[in-house]
């Protein structure tokens, strides 16, 4: 009666047709087959279309000479560089604007979020207006607005706004002096590194001492002294081996110094302002999620407002804040691709734009571009998850 199996008491197995495990396997095999078929179909179409139209594929083009200029590059680049190089230039520019954006948006968002909760009615109102205005207008519109309506109203280089002979602001960008290290400047850097190490050690020591004796040791002044003093002494001793390259008007443009082009400025300003409005809301709800009783309990223990925020409110608020903050960071990185609308040379603009157009390698280039963004997203998610686990897991 029972099917021959090792365990006589095992429940009978249905025939494979109605066995849900088998069914699940078959179903999954079918789904997988369908997905592969679809991918294969697309792949086949693409290959045959490419072939028929005589478009070459592969990564060979990356070694060819690009032949066009890029206005901003943090790594050496000339029109004689390769297309592969343009990829790197774009990538670095994307990373630059994303990193700056994340830092600035977090700071601004934190400030606005706290201002939103201020007891000062006017400040709270202004913060609310800020939030509601900027997060309800499309980012692209804001990017265009800052670039075409605001920054392009700045004066020409000849009529630059300036701070002495040091800093200039005009439609071509912000110009700041650039430090040029001279002979032996390495020693100053070394001194600074030593000072940093000393400060870290000092803080550890002060912490230990506080744990041991309860005596706090205010490291601020000593730290500041170390950080400024040590390098300064070495610097003076070596005869000030540092010159400044000042921006100055030569011919058409300012040369020398550090330049921040208006495309970067506009993109950064828009990304920061837009993302900060979301971050502010996140910060606010995070802080509100910590009940009022917590603050009261901390106050009645004698903690001052600063310590209450630092030791009681923030650690609890952070757990609420970090996950949505992560997705805001991801959004910011993806949104940095709007650079293409105003000509900031990011990855999409330089590589998926100009390079794609010069070479016609749509499939490879779009694939590489998407791959970069996917990787970035993944890395940020991983990092933030790790961080979140650190702040979240303390509870249990």
């Amino acid at each position: 009666m029972s099917s021959p199996s090792k365990d006589p008491l095992a429940p009978a197995r249905p025939n494979w047709m109605s066995n849900p495990r088998v069914r699940a396997l078959i179903f999954q095999a079918l789904v997988l087959a369908a997905v592969f078929a679809l991918l294969g179909y697309i792949f086949h179409n693409t290959v045959s279309n490419l072939e028929q139209r005589g478009i070459t594929t592969g990564f060979g083009f990356l070694d060819r000479e690009a032949g066009f200029g890029i206005i901003q590059s943090l790594i050496p680049y000339t029109p004689a560089s390769t297309y592969g190089r343009t990829f790197l230039v774009g990538l670095v520019n994307t990373l630059l604007v994303s990193a700056l954006g994340i830092v600035l948006a977090t700071l601004l968002g934190l400030i606005i979020g706290i201002a939103r909760l201020s007891k000062n009615w006017l400040i709270a109102r202004l913060a609310a207006i800020y939030i509601e205005t900027f997060r309800n207008i499309p980012l692209l519109l804001q990017v265009l607005f800052w670039y075409f309506a605001v920054l392009q109203a700045l004066p020409s280089p000849r009529q630059s706004l300036s701070i002495g002979e040091w800093a200039f602001l005009n439609i071509r960008g912000v110009y700041l002096p650039e430090p040029v290290p001279g002979q032996g400047f390495g020693w100053v850097v070394l001194a600074l590194a030593i000072a940093v190490a000393l400060v870290i050690w000092l803080r550890r020591w002060a912490h230990r001492r506080q744990l041991r004796t309860g005596q706090p040791f205010h490291t601020i002044y000593v730290s500041a002294g170390l950080l400024l003093g040590l390098p300064a002494v070495v610097f003076l001793f070596l005869g000030m081996p540092l010159t400044w390259s000042l921006p100055s008007l030569h011919g058409f443009n300012f040369t020398g110094g550090i330049t921040m082009i208006p495309e970067l400025t506009a993109l950064l300003v828009a990304l920061t302002i837009y993302t900060a409005s979301s971050i502010a809301e996140i910060v606010r709800s995070g802080i509100l999620a910590v009940s009022h009783g917590q603050t009261e309990a901390a106050y009645s223990l004698g903690l001052n407002p600063g310590n209450t925020t630092r030791l009681v409110v923030l650690p609890q608020a952070l757990r609420v804040i970090v996950p949505p903050l992560t997705s805001q960071y991801l959004n910011l990185v993806k949104n940095s691709s709007l650079a293409t609308a105003i000509g900031y040379p990011d990855l999409v603009n330089v590589f998926a734009g100009t390079t794609l157009n010069q070479t016609g390698q749509a499939v490879v280039i779009i694939g590489m571009t998407m791959g970069v963004y996917l990787t970035l997203s993944l890395l940020i998610s991983l990092f933030m998850n790790w961080y979140n686990q650190r702040v979240a897991l303390i509870e249990r």
Binding site: G251, F252, T255, G343, L356
Partner: protein, 323 residues
């Protein structure tokens, strides 16, 4: 050899009943949409001529506005049947992009435009200048080549659309605007103060602009090629949209008769009606009509014919004969 065997694009176009034409997103005189959404310009006329030849109706065109970056992918992918968007004919484009240029509807060369207030008289004075240029064009490459060969420095500011480029130039974001000379004239009228800008005399490149099609369909290639030639030949033969009807009935000139399909069966050889050239001239006009209307003396651009005059009038526009 009877009716030619038609290729895939030719058939597909015939079947769907209109020509899908890739144009620019807005370049006065070559292709831009007026306030009623009608597309106008020399590049647009090429497409209309093809439609006239194919269907006897120049309005059977649909337009896809493309940025410079998108244009080749759009043609390769089959999104458009013909790319008529001030595109320069080069060797790499013919070979590695899998496309064929069907001819030249405008001989151009890259030039520079500056504000008069800058006081620059020659491109050689542009060392260190900031240059506005449209992304993904040969212009961008020529620019780099030119400055390299002159041992000069420059900063490129690139935009997707010519509109953004002009706006940036107007605002003073850059000292120089570089593009094909024809475009410079076209773009100049978009400046707040057109008289305040001038085009420098140097021409740093050859820019033969023309329509292109995908490789692999010679019939379609032929049709586009000869639609363009027909406009030139019409000018050569003195056929205009005004006199074409009278010439058709009255003219005894065998060339004209062949051209207008009165005899010769030229259309059949290409797989279209024999009246194909008649339809082009009647509905689109000959080359000089198109030129004058869009960029020449009857337009705000006021570009002189120059290189684009027929070969026997001092230019280099020359079309093979229809016979």
């Amino acid at each position: 050899a009877g009716a030619a065997h038609a290729g895939a694009t030719f058939d597909a176009v015939k079947k769907k009943g209109y020509v899908q034409c890739g144009v620019s997103t807005g370049l006065p005189g070559f292709s831009n949409a007026d306030d009623k959404g009608q597309w106008k310009g020399m590049d647009v006329d090429v497409c209309r001529a093809v439609a006239a030849a194919m269907f006897g109706d120049a309005s059977k065109v649909r337009y896809t506005p493309l940025t410079a970056k998108e244009r080749f992918t759009a043609l390769q992918s089959g999104e458009i049947d013909i790319l008529s968007r001030n595109t320069t004919w080069t060797l790499t484009r013919d070979t590695s992009l899998g496309i064929n240029f069907a001819g030249v509807n405008y001989y151009d060369g890259q030039g520079f435009m500056v504000k008069k207030s800058l006081g620059v008289k020659s491109a050689k004075d542009l060392n260190g200048a900031t240059v506005c240029v449209q992304a993904g064009t040969t212009t961008e490459l020529n620019l780099a080549d030119y400055f390299r060969s002159q041992h000069m420095q420059f900063k490129p500011v690139t935009f997707d659309t010519s509109d953004a480029t002009v706006k940036a130039f107007d605002a003073g974001r850059c000292d120089v605007l570089t593009s094909d000379q024809s475009q410079l004239y076209a773009l100049r009228i978009l400046l707040a103060n057109p008289a305040g800008a001038e085009v420098l005399p140097e021409i740093i490149s050859k820019e033969p602009l023309g329509p292109s099609v995908r490789q692999g369909d010679d019939e379609w290639f032929n049709l586009v090629k000869w639609s363009l030639f027909a406009m030139l030949d019409a000018e050569n033969l003195g056929i205009t949209s005004k006199n074409v009807d009278t010439l058709k009935t009255d003219s005894k000139n065998p060339s004209i008769q062949r051209f207008l399909g009165v005899n010769g069966g030229m259309g059949k050889l290409m797989g279209v009606s024999d009246e194909w050239a008649y339809d082009i001239v009647k509905q689109v006009g000959n080359y000089s009509e198109s030129f004058d209307r869009n960029v020449g003396k009857d337009s705000p651009l006021k570009i002189r014919r120059g290189l684009n005059a027929l070969w026997n009038e001092g230019g280099i526009q020359y079309a093979p004969p229809i016979r």
